[in-house]
Symmetry: C2
Subunit: 323 residues, 2 copies
DNA sequence: TTGTAGGCGTTATCAC
DNA sequence: GTGATAACGCCTACAA
């Protein structure tokens, strides 16, 4: 890889002139410019980004640090973010980091490289980011809250998400609604469940939450609780539930309705009939961009949109409506 | 972010001494070393990686360029690669690039940054990588072949994969086997289908390939071809098929067997009963490491392992065996 | 034990 | 128009 100095020597000009040619700045004759550009292209000259980064004191890359890339839903959001940032001529790069210690190390590397900003999906809730890493670089956390100066948590109000799912199912005539979730603890998991429970109680309905259920356990729940709808923490779990139920001969939506959350494109592709609450990815992106521009990010206030397909069916008094 | 020069001034020593302290090299008194290290940590000193990269002429990062991160299967492999490379103390970073032009631009950036190596999942088959990008940096392509000097395509023999699926299903007593695939064209898609067809013919069986089938179309196939097994191009399609069949009241595996390919952890989590051919991710990683070490990569010769769960059931003469 | 000088590849500013 | 010179942050070699 040839450098500007070598290029200058080869063209028998100074480095300054090479620079003028490469950035087609004023103060150079068309002839020499052409000559230098021709040489540059034959030698396959490419400026070394690291050198520019040292001089300008900033880099044009934006770093997303995630705990895993094989989580479909995280990746849908990251993918959308990448598109948005590339439109703004920023290099968007992703690193995978397993635990808190490695996260802080990677974050320090980003700070040293003067990355424009770091977007993290924390491996667990409420990690504290040391202030010295964020004085020159904003940090945004998605899905899990993070503590620290210049650190912004961007998320819809997940308690609302839980309430909204209940309201939607109730508007379709459901009264016996069971919430299916996961045992691991995180903001989204506990908040959605909490929203479901408080809204159910407000409506004088009996909340019932189960986590990590096997197919047989689901059958038992059908026996004991006689639900007409399963409200699932996310699309992945909803599809898993539909598969299990159908495996046992329970029909969805004829025998029971299933509602997911996220509207993940990948998963909707697998199960096109899934009704789901759509995660507000565009609003998330707008907030991230706001932080990048130094503006105060507006909270995600919009209620999640309901994507009605047909895994949820209307009922009256617990019986299925004819259509 | 403080520099070594500023650190030197603050400690009233020269840059050389700071360097000795930071790299705890010989030729410095313990007292000054301690003093400098203390100052470094209070100021939160971090060396600028770009400066080192300019001096040493190489970077410690390894770049994966992929067309999308919301493809579950690609990401399973990328995730495994990331783990393997981080164990070797390399920074593993991922970029998303939509088309051929952007791929070449990103590749050029990697070359300019002296990345250790680039792993690409090409957006389409047989892209030619210009030789000047790969003289100092090996490029590995996964899933889709790529042309060019110092470019290595690492993949199992996908024709064999197709043959193997047939042999497995035949060993379970299946004779009427329909292959389900996609309409888009790529090496893996056409090769697996080709392997299926040639092996079926060798066994004097009638091959039948369908692509991009809706639920209703699947029912028609059941009527006309009367298959006892669906061999699906990958796990995603297999799960989609199982969902569709069960939606129509067709039982899997009681009425028909379904075989996938990949053994993707994410998808197996959704459908734990899926029988599938396991993609040889460990062997892929070994080959990538071999290229990184400058060795000639060995081809992936091992046949794919069969992960037997129970979406495939044994038959005799097209009838289901009792167990 | 410590300081100085030079260089990596690029950019910016000053002269001529 | 063009060239020289210094600077960015770090590292190595040589001198004191």
């Amino acid at each position: 890889m040839i450098s500007t100095l070598e290029l200058a020597r080869h063209c028998k000009v100074s480095q300054g002139t090479v620079d003028r040619a490469l950035h087609n700045r004023a103060g150079i004759s068309p002839a020499t410019r052409e000559r230098i550009l021709a040489a540059a292209s034959t030698f396959g000259f490419r400026p070394h980004p690291a050198a520019r980064e040292i001089i300008t004191g900033k880099s044009m890359t934006l770093h997303a640090i995630v705990p895993a890339v094989n989580n479909v839903f995280f990746m849908d959001v990251i993918h959308a973010l990448s598109e948005a940032m590339q439109e703004r001529n920023l290099q968007f790069q992703i690193s995978i980091v397993r635990d808190e210690a490695a996260l802080l190390r990677t974050l320090a590397d980003s700070a040293a490289r003067r990355h424009q900003m770091v977007i993290i999906i924390p491996p667990k809730d409420n990690i504290t980011i040391p202030a010295d890493l964020t004085i020159h670089m904003p940090v945004v956390s998605l899905f899990s809250p993070c503590l620290g100066e210049n650190v912004t948590f961007i998320s819809p109000d997940e308690v609302d998400t839980g309430r909204e799912g209940v309201d939607y199912l109730v508007s379709k005539g459901h009264r016996k609604i069971v919430f299916l979730s996961f045992t691991r603890t995180s903001y989204a998991i506990s908040a959605r469940s909490e929203g479901y429970q408080t809204r159910m109680r407000e409506l004088k309905l009996q909340p019932q939450v189960y986590s990590q259920m096997s197919g047989n356990q689901l059958l038992e729940v059908l026996e004991t609780d006689q639900p007409t709808a399963f409200f699932c923490h996310n699309d992945w779990l909803a599809i898993r539930t539909i598969l299990s139920l159908r495996e046992c001969g329970i029909r969805v939506p004829e025998d029971i309705s299933v509602l997911g959350v996220d509207n993940s494109p990948t998963l909707s592709g697998i199960c096109p009939e899934l009704t789901t609450l759509s995660y507000p990815t565009p609003a998330i992106i707008d907030s991230v961009v706001a932080v990048l521009d130094g503006a105060v990010p507006v909270g995600i206030k919009t209620p999640l949109a309901i994507i009605e397909r047909n895994s949820v069916q209307p009922r009256t008094n617990g019986k299925r409506l004819r259509r």
